[in-house]
């Protein structure tokens, strides 16, 4: 469903508030079909916010965005899809493991996508966010 929407009517995301609306519906869907996902996302948020100079905001197209010094580390849509930017070399290395994929719209960039389906995936998502956090911490030191 998410892929269908982003592929065929993704251009509508530029309509103000539409991304938020869609993400709200994803949250409701998760509430009925996989409520644990909402808990895992809370746990990720709690953990990331323990890291120095991190904040969480609502992503412009809906979902939870994590920032380091106001620069985006990554964001999680309410269907459990983590999108984030990594170094291309790190991305290539991780792609070999087969757990992450190209970002659902930005192909051939450092952006990646990863679906959280289980508690194990939540831990992996946290590890990915930590990689992104460290990348920014080196790039944008205090």
């Amino acid at each position: 469903m998410f892929r269908f929407v982003t592929h065929y009517i993704g251009f509508l995301k530029s309509v103000p508030t539409l991304g938020w609306l869609f993400d709200g519906l994803l949250k409701l869907w998760a509430f009925f079909t996989q409520p644990a996902l909402l808990d895992w996302m809370d746990e990720i948020e709690t953990e990331v916010l323990k890291w120095k100079r991190t904040t969480s905001v609502i992503h412009k197209y809906g979902g939870m965005q994590f920032n380091y010094n106001s620069k985006e580390i990554g964001h999680i849509h309410s269907n459990g899809l983590l999108d984030m930017l990594l170094n291309r070399s790190v991305k290539a290395q991780l792609m070999l493991d087969g757990r992450i994929s190209d970002h659902h719209t930005f192909k051939n960039t450092g952006w990646i996508s990863f679906y959280i389906h289980s508690a194990e995936d939540k831990d992996y998502a946290l590890a990915l966010l930590e990689l992104g956090y460290k990348r920014l911490a080196i790039k944008l030191p205090d």
Partner: protein, 307 residues
């Protein structure tokens, strides 16, 4: 503790819904009636901005409750149910309308609650006031803007019979007995069942009867035998599912002789929408109109192909 939580929930539901009723009433009776003079139109802001603000208001009551995302989503869902119940009671909306509007309400209320939670965690009053103020400005500007939307839906079907045989079934047809296939018709949305006409001539009155007994009164405005039947809708039923939301203005059947004993039958309908945003409601309007066309046209095909 339980009593306190319940009281907080009741305040969150009650105040956010009262806000919605108040601002929509203010919009209808003060802003729109006195400035735009087109009452009855429901605009984008009423379906998106108001529910977003409802979510933000409810999040303000829950700001110290430490709710998890799961709890916040569940409570926002209940808030949406209350809103839908109030729309049914106070606005007299039909069940199909409420099904159609519910994704907008649920999505926006839940998003609003999440935005509100993020806002009140930061506790930046200047920023929070700016966000809510901006939303209210968008609401007023949207309400004062002119809203006008018309569209036409066209469908085509091949009938294995010559136009002369198809024509009589186009002008009027006996009762459709075929079971409904479209999901909205299956759950209770009225579907077309019969069409009657007082005569086969220009200006004749025609009726399109729906499954719940409601009738569209029509008048034939183009009668080009075996080629073009166009009818204007002179009176549409006061059904809460469509009343004030959509006006069907004109219908048309075009018959094209393919020269091989078959006919290409085209069904066209023109309508005016009174609910916005059109990117959402016109998708539904097109889907419903298309399924009304197909139900009638498939029946015409069956009648015409029967020896």
């Amino acid at each position: 503790m339980l009593k306190k939580n319940l009281l907080t929930d009741l305040k969150a539901y009650g105040i956010s819904n009262l806000f919605a009723v108040g601002i929509i009433a203010f919009d209808k009776y003060v802003i729109v009636d006195s400035h735009v003079n087109i009452s009855g139109i429901f605009v984008f802001s009423e379906f998106i901005i108001v529910p977003l603000l409802m979510g933000i208001i409810s999040a303000w009551f829950w700001r110290n409750a430490g709710l998890t995302s799961r709890e916040l989503t569940g409570k926002s869902f209940i808030n949406g149910i209350i809103t839908i119940a109030m729309a049914s009671i106070f606005l007299g909306e039909g069940s199909i309308c409420l099904i159609i509007v519910s994704p907008l309400l649920f999505g926006s209320i839940i998003s609003g609650a999440l935005i509100g939670r993020a806002m009140f965690r930061r506790n930046n009053n200047t920023l929070n006031t700016s966000i809510v103020g901006l939303m209210l400005i968008v609401f007023v500007a949207d309400s004062l803007s002119e809203h006008h939307y018309e569209n036409m839906v066209s469908d085509t079907i091949l009938v294995n019979a010559p136009p002369q045989q198809v024509w009589k079934n186009v002008v009027a047809f006996k009762r459709i007995k075929e079971k409904n296939k479209y999901w909205l018709f299956k759950i209770g949305m009225p579907s077309p069942v019969e069409s009657t006409v007082e005569g086969y001539y220009l200006g004749a009155k025609r009726k399109c009867i729906f499954s719940n007994g409601y009738t569209f009164d029509e008048k034939i405005v183009t009668y080009d035998e075996n080629k073009n039947l166009t009818f204007a809708i002179t009176n549409q039923p006061r059904d809460p599912e469509i009343m004030g939301h959509i006006d069907i203005e004109q219908g048309q059947f075009l018959l094209k002789d393919n020269g091989n004993g078959t006919t290409t039958l085209v069904g066209n309908s023109w309508y005016k929408l009174y609910v916005f945003p059109t990117w959402y409601y016109d998708t539904w309007a097109q889907s419903i109109t298309r399924n009304v066309h197909l139900r009638v046209m498939e029946h015409i095909k069956e009648l015409s192909e029967t020896k």
